[in-house]
Structures are given as structure tokens and as C-alpha cells.
């Protein structure tokens, strides 16, 4: 499989996974690029597995988020405040979507990083074995953590929809 074929096959699901993980689509796009750059630089004779690709993207995202958060802390702590974007009026559909996004983001943030990865990898169709390898746990624990994460997500999403009513 060529690099182009690998990219065609996986770039969209990688973007979805990382953007859900980080709630930052621009950052997610950068991570997708960085993931394929890393693969290309490795000069592999065989293409990496899909699970390996996602694990690499997850690690790059975690590392990148730490750096990004550090930069943000420095900016916030400095004497010069960085102005945010001017408030804009969103069309109704976009406003609803933004609200939904905020609710899901809040719910995902309530999970541990491991639980979040388990839920999002399962959403991408990975087996418990692949997920267990990625997060460093047993296949039995994946089921338990998945069930726990579902409970937390639903609780949080229920709270949010309750807030709105």
C-alpha cells in the first residue's frame, strides 16, 4: 500500500477521532498531517496497522496538547492579554450545533483520558484487543471502563439537556 493509499483510507477517520478527542479541528488536522509525516519518515516496508496509526495519532495529540496548554497558560499569565474573536451571531442551525458540541465536549472532558480513548476508539470500530493495546490495559478492563464511561457520558449529557429545558 502506498502512502497516498494509506492517507486516502484513514485520514478522515483519524481527523474525526482526534477532533473528538481534542475538540479542536485545526489542531486535529495538524495531528493527521504529523501522523502521516511520521509514517513517511519511518520508511516502512509494510504499512502500519490501523490500530498503530491511531495510537500514534493519539500520542502525538497528547504530546501536542500538553505543549499547547503550556503556551496558553503562558499567554494568559503574561501582561499582554490575547484578544479573543469578536462575538458573532450564528445562524440557528450552527448555534444548535455549537451547543451540542459544547455539551458533548463537556461530557467527554468528564472522562479520564483512558476512558475517552476507549469510547472514541470503539466508535471507530476497534476491537477490545486493539483498544487494550492502545491504552495499556486488559481486554476485560476495556468492557468495564467502556460501561463506566457510558454512564458518565449519559449522566452529563442528561444534565446538559436538563439545563436547557
Amino acid at each position: 500500500m502506498t502512502l497516498d493509499e494509506l492517507f486516502e483510507r484513514h485520514h478522515k477517520s483519524l481527523f474525526r477521532f482526534v477532533s473528538r478527542m481534542t475538540s479542536d479541528p485545526d489542531f486535529a488536522k495538524d495531528i493527521v498531517q504529523e501522523t502521516f509525516l511520521t509514517i513517511a519518515r519511518e520508511g516502512r516496508s509494510e504499512p502500519p496497522s490501523r490500530a498503530w496509526l491511531f495510537q500514534l495519532a493519539r500520542n502525538l495529540a497528547r504530546s501536542g496538547m500538553r505543549k499547547r496548554d503550556r503556551r496558553l497558560r503562558l499567554l494568559r499569565g503574561g501582561s499582554h492579554r490575547v484578544p479573543g474573536p469578536a462575538p458573532t451571531t450564528l445562524p440557528d442551525v450552527e448555534a444548535e450545533r455549537a451547543e451540542a458540541r459544547a455539551a458533548v465536549r463537556g461530557a467527554l472532558e468528564r472522562l479520564s483520558e483512558k476512558e475517552r480513548t476507549i469510547v472514541l476508539m470503539r466508535e471507530e470500530g476497534f476491537t477490545h484487543r486493539e483498544i487494550a493495546d492502545a491504552v495499556g490495559t486488559t481486554t476485560g478492563s476495556v468492557g468495564t471502563m467502556f460501561a463506566r464511561a457510558l454512564g458518565k457520558l449519559e449522566e452529563r449529557l442528561g444534565e446538559t439537556s436538563g439545563d436547557e429545558s
Binding site: 502512502l3 497516498d4 477532533s19 502521516f36 460501561a147
Partner: protein, 262 residues
Amino acid sequence: MSVEHGPAGTADAGLLVRHLHGELDEADARDVSDHLAGCEACRTLARALEARTRRVSDALRQADFPEPDEHEWRRVLGAVRDDSATRKRPHRGLLAAGWVLAVVTTAGLASASVRGWVADRWEGVFGDGAPPTAPAADAGAPGRADLSFRPAGPELSVLLESRQAGGTLTLRFVDGSTATVSVSGGGEERLAVGDGGIRIGNMSGSRASYELTVPSHVERVLVGIGGLEPVEVARAANSGQPIAVDLVQGVVVRSPTSHDEY
């Protein structure tokens, strides 16, 4: 497998999740199915888990960010292709910008392939010119390169660009202030050394092994392979014997306290 109820009065939710996801073997799946057929409480929990999964999936999809358009994805793929093509040019230093390099005190080499490797290393550190001090030849160790440097901080990183087809990284803590690194069995590997550690430009087909001695002021050693986040593999406080990292599996082996996969 017998399915038993826990304190909540139902089977373990994790077991039911594994069943719903088709992750149990045939015999266990049959046992859980038989149990569900006769247990209303567990059937209710299983249905609730299915419904929760659907609701969470729907919520995630509804909240998804718009994807970049095709033009943007073409640009991303183009950047990957360009980088890949550029890196294949000969005599290009492998070091990424920002990898700050400092003291390299000695280097030894013998074979032509290793000589090229050291030259690349110096290129990476000092640009395309010759190294300020010519490395000394060591005719007694063909196919092998040795160099030493002084790590500045309490943490030493070893970053390998690729998982290899063979080889190990063996490290041991020693008295003194100088770290040494030796490479054997390789040919294409390139190395950059700095205060923070070592960056190894290797290929996935490499079978090179690396031996690293770590001075006593370094408190911990981290290893990152193939772009994965560096992971701590050794602490000076626990340095009873050499620690080896299998560069194929990314597994710490022959360590007295760990056998960690990362």
C-alpha cells in the same frame, strides 16, 4: 463460564459490554446468552447499555466538527509527500529544527558506513562543514561507533525515529559525568547528541543495537520510538543491572522491576 450477579443484583456491566460487542469466545457468549434468557434484571441492563451506546454515538455524530474540504486535504497530503521526498536527498542532516545540540567530546569510527553516519551527525550539529575536531579512527572496532557527551540535566532522552527489524538499546548507570553511546551491527543510523539526550535517525529495517552508559547525575532515562511519546524506562535509583529495550517490540526486557510495553 458461570454468570454471577454482583452487589447491584445483575451481572457485571463490563461482561455484558463484551458480550454486546461480540468480544467473548463462543462458549462464554453462549453462557451469557443463556443467562440473559432467564434473567430479567440482566436483560434490562443489557438493553440499557445498548441504548446508551446508541445515544452517545448519536450525540458524538451531531457534535462533529466539519471536516476540512478536499482542497485542504490535498494540501496536507502534498506537504507529507514533499517532506518525504526532501528527506530522501543525500547528505541532508536528519535533525528537526529545535533539537538543540551541544557538547560532543569524542567519536570513534571504523567502517565506511559508520564513517558516513558520524559525518551526518556532525553535519546535523554544525551545518555542512567539517566537524571542528576530526573524530579519531578506531581500527580495532569494525562496524562500530563510540562517542561520549555530558548530559546537562537530570533527565536523558533517547529518541529513535523508527521501530527496528532487530536490535536492542541497552543502558547502564555508571559513576562520573560522561555518557557514552556505542552502535553496533548497523550502517545507516544517524545520531545527534545534545545536553538533553540522543536522537537516532534509524530505519524500520535496521538491526542495529545501541549501548548507552548513563552518568550518575542523570535521574531517569526516557525512550521514544517511532514518534511515540517517550516513556520512562529506567531510574538511577533502581539501577541494579543493565536495562535493555527491545527495539522491535518496544518492550523493556531484562529489567529487574519491569517488563513494560509501550
